[in-house]
């Protein structure tokens, strides 16, 4: 385990050498001071203008989640039996919500359906996998007690579902939190959610408004436990659909045109485009050259930068986790400091990494640095919570070493290191997805090229680049599985937390 860790640290060190970590802005500290002032003197007035956006954030999240849960449940039913379904799910969850929004944008336009699909589709892939894992790991004893010839559905409803239900519910409610984050950041590409107002506030330097919006978002997340009860969820979903249904216009012509024309590589369309006939020609040489050029000019540099950022963020997240997890651990600190660390971690993990990166970019200018810091803060907070939680379950001997550092190095760390690595490698692909998507903010990862292609209305390029991103993600996921298997580290299905 130590050797593997050191290999990854060495890779990250090389990446740091290759990466552009320069802080470009001249007076970052002045800007930071203004933001800090904004955080202590938030302008609640910003909320009156953003109340509709706040509501949209919630309704998009509920609708998207409902779609994801429905699709994911159906897919989970055949997940373990069909390799095709497993690959399909791996592909749809390998594409970040913002990229899905880019894909749906030209088809359905900039409207709620776009946001709901952008959340629902990748979430269906995630739910399929995690639900299938939870159901598979459910205690089999109840099933053994049923009469031998009980039908498949009855066996499921009596022998499997009730046993797995608490885990399914816990995971789904965790995903609601994620869906709200996804919904919020969809505003950054123009959908009418919280991110839209946050982007405006940050861009225009309204440093008192942005914190007010963020605070509102924290309150929303913190209040979930009070108003989201399993019984009320169907009501919220129905109300959410009712609230958005008035705004939906889907044009089938658009969809057809998108699927049969716009996604085709440019060389197939160019002649008909200039002649005004819309004719399609297929010249394999030309298409091949188009793909080759695109690969050289965009895919290779984009993927290279994405991987560099991912590896730096992975190791950074690991180090950050190892530093912060003792803060919430009963073997190191008493109640009050533990509670403070706990809330600190909640705030960090509740802040979407995209917003963190956006804010840091305003401060430091476009380089790998703000992106890496944003990813490591957000993910480190989640892993710190999980690792600290695991450490709290340990029953250590009573004659522990007096000094904290001794307890940390000799008693706690060796015991939690395996599960820590499992959590970290689980999140590897998540970090890669985030690395790619943060390109939209101007760092030259894959998202940068995808965003440029969207701006140029080059759907063919968008599809190609997103396809590459998805493949890269599936690849990272496979390597991560391999590493976890080799190290023989595991975290339960409910801890996947991605």
């Amino acid at each position: 385990m130590l050797r593997t860790s050191l290999v990854f640290v060495a890779i990250a060190a090389v990446c740091v050498g290759l990466a552009d970590l320069e802080i470009a802005t001249l007076e970052p500290w002045d800007e930071l001071r203004r933001i800090a002032v904004g955080f202590v003197t938030p302008d609640a007035g910003a909320l009156t203008g953003a109340s509709q956006a706040l509501l949209n954030t919630i309704t998009f999240a509920f609708c998207g989640l409902a779609l994801g849960v429905t699709g994911g449940s159906l897919l989970a039913a055949v997940f373990s039996r069909s390799a095709a379904v497993r690959s399909f799910c791996a592909c749809i969850r390998a594409v970040h919500e913002l990229f899905w929004a880019f894909l749906f944008l030209p088809v359905v336009g900039l409207n709620p359906i776009c946001g709901i699909l952008a959340i629902g589709v990748p979430y269906a892939g995630v739910f399929a996998k995690v639900y299938a894992e939870i159901l598979q790991e459910a205690d089999r004893r109840a099933l053994n007690g049923l009469p031998p010839r009980t039908g498949g559905l009855s066996r499921f409803f009596y022998g499997v579902l009730p046993v797995a239900y608490p885990d399914l519910r816990a995971y789904t409610s965790y995903r609601l939190e994620c869906a709200l984050r996804s919904s919020a950041i969809l505003g950054f590409i123009g959908l009418p959610t919280l991110g839209f107002h946050l982007e405006t506030a940050f861009r225009e330097g309204l440093y008192a408004e942005a914190p007010a919006l963020l605070y509102a978002f924290y309150l929303l997340i913190a209040s979930l436990r009070w108003w989201v009860k399993p019984r009320l969820v169907p009501l919220y979903v129905a109300a959410s659909f009712a609230l958005i249904s008035t705004e939906v216009h889907v044009s089938w012509d658009n969809i057809r045109r998108f699927l049969t024309y716009e996604i085709l590589p440019w060389p197939m369309r160019s002649e008909g485009y200039y002649a005004g006939t819309g004719q399609i020609v297929f010249d394999a040489m030309e298409v091949g050259r188009w793909a080759w050029d695109l690969t050289l000019s965009e895919v290779v540099p984009g993927a290279w930068n994405t991987l560099i950022l991912t590896q730096i963020a992975l190791v950074g997240t690991g180090l950050f986790t190892l530093v912060v997890f003792p803060g919430i651990c009963r073997h190191f600190y008493s109640r009050v400091p533990r509670a403070l660390s706990h809330y600190g971690l909640i705030v960090l993990r509740t802040t979407p990494e995209y917003i963190l990166a956006y804010a840091l970019l305003q401060l430091w200018g476009p380089s790998v640095m703000p992106a890496a810091v944003a990813i490591l803060l957000h993910n480190g907070a989640i892993l710190g919570h999980l690792t600290g939680g695991h450490a709290n379950t340990l029953n250590l001997r009573t004659d522990l070493p007096k000094r904290r550092i001794d307890r940390y190095l000799f008693e706690v760390l060796p015991r939690v290191y395996g599960s820590f690595l499992a959590f970290l490698f689980y999140r590897w692909e998540v970090m890669m997805r985030e690395s790619a998507v943060l390109g939209i903010l101007g760092i030259p990862t894959l998202g940068f090229f995808i965003d440029s292609a969207i701006a140029a209305d080059a759907i063919d390029k968008v599809i190609f680049l997103i396809g590459v991103t998805a493949l890269l993600n599936v690849g990272i996921d496979s390597i991560s599985q391999l590493v976890r298997r080799r190290l023989r580290v595991r975290a339960g299905a409910v801890f996947t937390y991605d």
Binding site: R141, N144, G145, P147, P148, R149, G151, S154, V163
Partner: protein, 240 residues
Amino acid sequence: MTVDPTAGGEANRPVSGANARAVFELRNVTVAYDEVPAIERVSLRIEEGEKVVLIGPSGAGKSTLLRHLYELSGEQGALIHQDYSLIPQLSVFHNVYAGRLDQHTAWRNFRTLLRPDSRDMHTVQPIIEALDLQDKTHERVQALSGGQQQRVAVGRAVYRDGQILLGDEPVSAIDPHQAGRVLELIKGSAATVVLAMHDVQLALEHFSRVVALRDGQITFDLPAAQVDRNMLSHLYRAEG
């Protein structure tokens, strides 16, 4: 251990004659786990209507033999599992109802899960009452004590209403003053009953035929009245 060799007998029907139908007919059966035999070359004939108890030290092969009989009995059989195998998150009613899942359509079972049918309530309730669980009908099984859970497991097997009822230590966690009543309920709910029990005295009191196992083999197979203290101390002797 004190054993009264004259106890029992009357409550049970005498073993039927040679022309009765055999429910189980084992000849030299060996069942092995990971190539280690749990029961070895066991021969056993059980006829319809018989009430048989299996005794013997732990690891003798009682559970293996019961499981084998359960597999042979097909859809007529009900088994009270040693670990109860209940659905902890569902109510007592639903756990008992689960004994007949195979007799209803999936749709009906699904509806029952959401809202029990009054017909089913009528058939399930008497069993729940006989097991003294009527206060707990709608409580989740995971909230019950071990003894109560075991009674639910008994209830499910009784409700199954099959021809054959098999039980692996079905009263081990039940209070002594209730155990006898529960045993009688079990005996009355299926034509053929085979139980494994560790409480030898209780076993002899309630069963006419005693099959003793040790090290995966049948040591003796006798009417309860013929089992004496020497046989038992030999059966339960320490290893070596």
